[in-house]
Symmetry: C2
Subunit: 326 residues, 2 copies
């Protein structure tokens, strides 16, 4: 019998999950829940659409619910709420608030005897696992994480909030020389500015003061002030022609030594993603498989990708995996 | 209380484990067991050395036994034998025989209510995990594994068995153009010859027929015939000066598509290792930590790295890992 998956939320991530579930042979997508009027939603796959208020009534027909809301406003409420009734998966990515979110979700899912896998995706997610494996294997060493080249949604939004800006797209770009130094085993101490640059494509309102906008961007604390930032003003048409994709990626390094420092080892994990939300969605869907398996074994509570044996993510049996992939 | 680790076998791998255990703050190395006369062994760290026949008598003083023998002759016997008494770790790497080895070890460790983690290292090991994660996340895709540049012990040994050869070192080298095509998202079909070349450094006996040796190498079935192979004859002094290291490494790729083929994603995991045995040893030691934890939870039987939740490999608590690495 196939795993019955449902989605809450139909933005970019929800659409990505829809694709990924339909690409998984051991899963079927049984419902999409939305806060909008269900009649206004046209899904790519034709999955039935319901109001989110009807979700709990359908809980016996759903094995895992994948929550596709945002980390700022949706997931802190939604994940604990649904964890009380379903096995759930989310992509909560506000790093500093993960411990609090974990505790809130854990209480609910333990009471409900369900599994909740939080903070899935690639960072947090696959990058986190690689930081963990790297440290566990090479305790005498250093981690480096580089992001990009890719679109940062948060930084693009920050530019859009500036007076006089119609639209904007921000790319995070790793500094090539820093990458080379790390890959070369130099173990450099790198400042924020030495690791990444930021490139912004901005559509301004007619008559806006471009110098003022540029200055507001490059001096914006937390977002841009600590980076070398380039600002390009372009037309709405150029933005739509050249910057509609949502690519991203990056690299995690572990540079470590063994034998009292005599020998060096470099582990590098790299992602080059055409679509950030579709890749994130693919991690969520593999995690849904693991959640269902863990729950079927009687496990419950909040989990992260750190707690999931890799084999639980893959559809094949342990025997098959040992034979073909080990 | 620290984890009490013991080693069986004191070759390159055993020496690597000795270093790695001593570098782990939560472990202590309590014994080294050898088939040689213990009096003849001088260890780097001064750990007590015993005859391997005395190992079982000391089982109550040892939490995990790390087996550092070879896959061809030692581990098929040793791992099931010791799994009957200890939590054990091995690096069994004869890929085709892993299922049989797993079954043999599983029976013993279940009866003994112990954990046996087999086939740890980097391939099998970290490369295998990356093949698994890649397939689980991107089911519509292809895997590629490249090895090198690095010393292949098996191929070096094969050359040494040729008449007229005194010593030899063989390097496996990935073909740069193949790497570029894979990394570029081309998803090429690659033959054995297109993926790797082999470079051999050979010390011949005085008066040996060099043409004949070279021909025997490059036409050797399984080992060299399917590759472009270069042979260099060098002196014993040159071999000792330039080729005593045991570097290795390689790359695992998963190139996959989402949204019905619309978007491409490339995952690349790469290792650059100054010392193959010391890195392998570091994976064995992290796995020993996981084995002890799994056994303390009441689990038993044979496991592979596929079955180990990543958090079990790292000394920090789940709470700490979520806070600092997720």
């Amino acid at each position: 019998m196939k795993l019955r998956i449902a989605i809450v939320g139909y933005g970019n991530l929800g659409r990505g999950v829809e694709c990924a579930v339909n690409a998984a042979e051991d899963m079927e997508l049984v419902a999409l829940f939305t806060r909008r009027d269900p009649k206004t939603i046209k899904t790519a796959s034709g999955v039935p659409v319901f109001s989110v208020v009807d979700a709990i009534a359908k809980k016996d027909d759903i094995d895992v619910l994948i929550l596709c809301g945002g980390s700022a406003n949706d997931l802190p409420e939604q994940t604990p709420f649904f964890a009380d009734h379903f096995n759930v998966i989310d992509s909560f990515d506000t790093h500093a608030k993960i411990p609090e979110h974990f505790e809130n979700v854990d209480k609910k899912s333990r009471t409900a005897k369900k599994i909740a896998v939080i903070s899935c995706g690639w960072d947090p997610g696959m990058f986190s696992i690689n930081r963990l494996y790297g440290q566990a294997i090479l305790p005498d060493g250093r981690d480096y994480t580089f992001w990009g080249k890719g679109v940062s949604q948060g930084h693009s939004d920050a530019i859009r909030r500036i007076d006089g800006v119609l639209d904007a797209r921000q790319y995070t770009i790793p500094v090539e020389n820093a990458l080379l130094r790390v890959r070369g085993g130099e173990n450099p101490e790198l400042t924020t500015r030495e690791k990444h640059t930021r490139e912004c494509f901005v559509v301004a309102k007619e008559g806006a003061d471009l110098k003022k906008i540029e200055n507001e961007i490059v001096t914006m604390p937390n977002y841009f002030a600590d980076y070398d930032t380039t600002v390009h003003f372009i037309t709405k048409e150029e933005l739509e022609r050249d910057h509609t994709g949502i690519p991203h990626g990056g690299r995690v390094f572990r540079c470590g030594k063994t034998n009292g420092g005599k020998n060096s080892h470099i582990i590098e994990y790299s992602l080059k993603l055409d679509s950030n939300p579709e890749f994130t969605a693919s991690v969520l869907v593999a995690s849904a498989r693991a959640a269902a398996r863990m729950n079927a074994e009687g496990l419950c509570g909040a989990k992260t990708i750190f707690d999931i044996p890799p084999s639980y993510l893959h559809p094949a049996s342990g025997e098959e995996l040992r034979k073909t992939l080990l």
